[in-house]
């Protein structure tokens, strides 16, 4: 049975009268890798800052190891943070940056000895593969190296919890993938609880033990990566995690759903008879067959080469689907499709119904997803002072 470490109980937050978090109830287990996932403005960073102590919730309580910590300032919390832009101290070198927290620590009122500090810093340099960099100026390091220094600077204090605020946001694709593996490895070897904030669903799926999907200040779903992907709770989650065709359906009985006036077998049940539902069909779960054998027939209206496979857009009864396939289907060709029962996922209607899962505006949506840095607000107030 995993031990609960942090609990947010009915936490709410508002800025300038605008609700950012609405009654969040969430607990974090010891030694787990938990990701807060959601689009910009969903409240994930706010949640992280409440745990870090940089924000006080306007209502609700924060517990750490059973103790209420609402009024504990950041410097007295057993958590450390890795900030979005690393926030390394520019006047200190790599060693001094990492040693910053250790120099402030007191054990029984006494400072740590120089030898202890330096042995712990060198141990960290080893863990983050930055041996020999201790004297380097942090401003001379690459983004990936700065990232490692930030990780070392936080972990050297042996926090119980590490908070990571989009730490890979500024790195290029290749480096991101490497660092994902690296972070997961560090988390597993140190046994520290990681609370990770990202808007990148692939990153969340690849690294997390638990994913918390957030939107408009509310938790939409909590689950393992597999649960979140395979059993999304509503249209928002289905759309945000991976690609989804989301269709209106009518549940006839357990295991039987009607889409476009045709009945399909599925594995889900427990709905009221004739309940209106959202149906999720993942693009990779759709098989292309000859028109004559298709459960549905449609016309290919768009095609994009993605390397491993093609994304094709197919028009069924005026509703555009995204299908991922290795077969080349030229634009204009008629195709039939087949969907296995386990490829059809049924969800209750929600506030998000009808907002997602239509690929009519295909290209726009892709632009948004592929723009890695879209959530990175330039905050530099360069020259923004009155002199």
């Amino acid at each position: 049975m995993p031990k609960e470490l942090i609990r947010l109980s009915n936490c709410a937050m508002a800025f300038d009268g605008e609700d950012v978090l609405k009654n969040i109830n969430l607990y974090f287990n010891d030694k787990e890798f938990l990701t807060l996932l959601g689009p910009s403005g969903c409240g994930k960073t706010t949640t992280l800052r409440i745990i870090g102590g940089f924000l006080k919730p306007i209502s609700g309580d924060v517990y750490f190891d059973g103790v209420r910590i609402n009024d504990v300032p950041p410097h007295k919390r057993a958590v450390n943070t890795i900030f979005q832009k690393y926030a390394l101290f520019p006047h200190l070198n790599v060693f001094e940056n990492i040693a910053f927290g250790l120099k402030l620590q007191r054990q029984n009122g006494k400072k740590l000895s120089k030898t202890e500090i330096s042995s712990r810093v060198f141990e960290m340099l080893d863990i983050v593969s930055l041996k020999g960099f201790e004297k380097r100026d942090v401003t001379s390091l690459s983004g990936g190296q700065q990232q490692r220094v930030a990780i070392a600077r936080a972990l050297v204090n042996r926090p119980k919890v590490l908070l990571l605020d989009e730490p890979l946001g500024a790195l290029d694709m290749r480096l991101r993938k490497d660092m994902q593996i690296e972070l997961k490895r560090i988390q597993q070897t140190t046994g520290i609880t990681f609370i990770y904030v990202t808007h990148d669903q692939e990153e969340a799926l690849a690294m997390s033990d638990t994913i918390v999907v957030m939107e408009s200040g509310e938790i939409q779903q909590i689950g393992t990566p597999e649960e979140i992907y395979n059993e999304p709770k509503n249209a928002f989650v289905a759309d945000f995690i991976g690609e989804s065709n989301i269709l209106d359906g009518v549940m006839h009985s357990d295991g039987l759903v009607e889409i476009f006036g045709r009945k399909f077998k599925c594995l889900d049940g427990g709905f009221k008879p004739m309940e209106l539902v959202d149906v999720v069909i993942r693009p990779e779960d759709i098989d292309i067959v000859d028109v004559s054998q298709g459960m549905l027939k449609g016309t290919v209206t768009g095609i994009t080469f993605r390397g491993v496979l093609y994304d094709i857009i197919v028009d069924f009864h005026g509703f555009k689907w995204l299908i991922q396939t290795t077969d080349l289907c030229p634009v204009g060709s008629k195709i039939g499709i087949k969907i296995d029962p386990d490829g059809i996922h049924i969800m209750h209607k929600s506030q998000f119904s009808g907002m997602f899962g239509d690929y009519s505006s295909f290209s726009d949506e892709y632009d948004e997803i592929s723009d890695v840095a879209y959530e990175f607000e330039p905050e530099e107030a360069e020259g923004n002072y009155e002199a």
């Binding site: 940089f54 300032p73 958590v79 943070t81 101290f89 520019p90 402030l104 360069e382």
Partner: protein
Amino acid sequence: MKPKYFSIPYVGWMAIFVVAPIILVFIYAFTTPTGALTLRNFSDMGLFMPVFIRSFRLAFISTIVCILLGYPVAYILARENQRVQRVLFLLIMLPLWMNFLLRTYAWMSILENTGLLNQLLTALSLPPVRIINTEAAVVIGMVYNFLPFMILPIYSVIVKIDRNLLEAAQDLGANSLSVFRRLIIPLSIPGILSGVTMVFVPAVSAFVITQLLGGGMVFLLGDLIEMQFLGTAHNPHVGSAISIVMMLVVIAFVIIMNKFGAGEERTVGL
């Protein structure tokens, strides 16, 4: 017309009123009244050593006082919200809009033996202080006049410090005092250095302040040079030589400051 031609009036102005006088000063410094070349004007410099020392000492004290007074002001200013900042800025800049002489005269009437300060002390039945015509009065005058030039550069550096850095330090266990000591002060050194340059250099060469508030009792380099050109001594050749020595010392000082600053400069922008 190419944009660079617009600078011609400025270049002309500089040539006539800055470059030409400097050349004249050099010519004077190395010649005798009859026009013969000489180094005599410099070899007598030892005579003025006490004045040099006093000038640099008072400029140094004024600079230190400016740092001690200016730093907290700049720090508080940088942390206030925009509206409060604007009001405070106005208050800091306001005296600068008044003529320098008027400001110094105002201090005269405050510090006089029967001035505002002593009237206040008497009213509180405290013993009066004799402050006018002392070095203290001169330092007060210099600090008052040059303080804004310390506050502004320090403010502009502190206000640019990334808030994330402060949060990172807190996150790593620093209380407000540690954040200030380990982060804000080291990161504001470039501002302090340029403030020091902007206060120290004019303070070394100050002369009206010394005459009004020092009453001729506190004789500084500026007074010495003025005396050689306009006053009783009247020896523009020696005056030029003193000017050159002072200029060289000041230039050396600025270069050293910039050297110090060079290491810090890039830390501001990160």
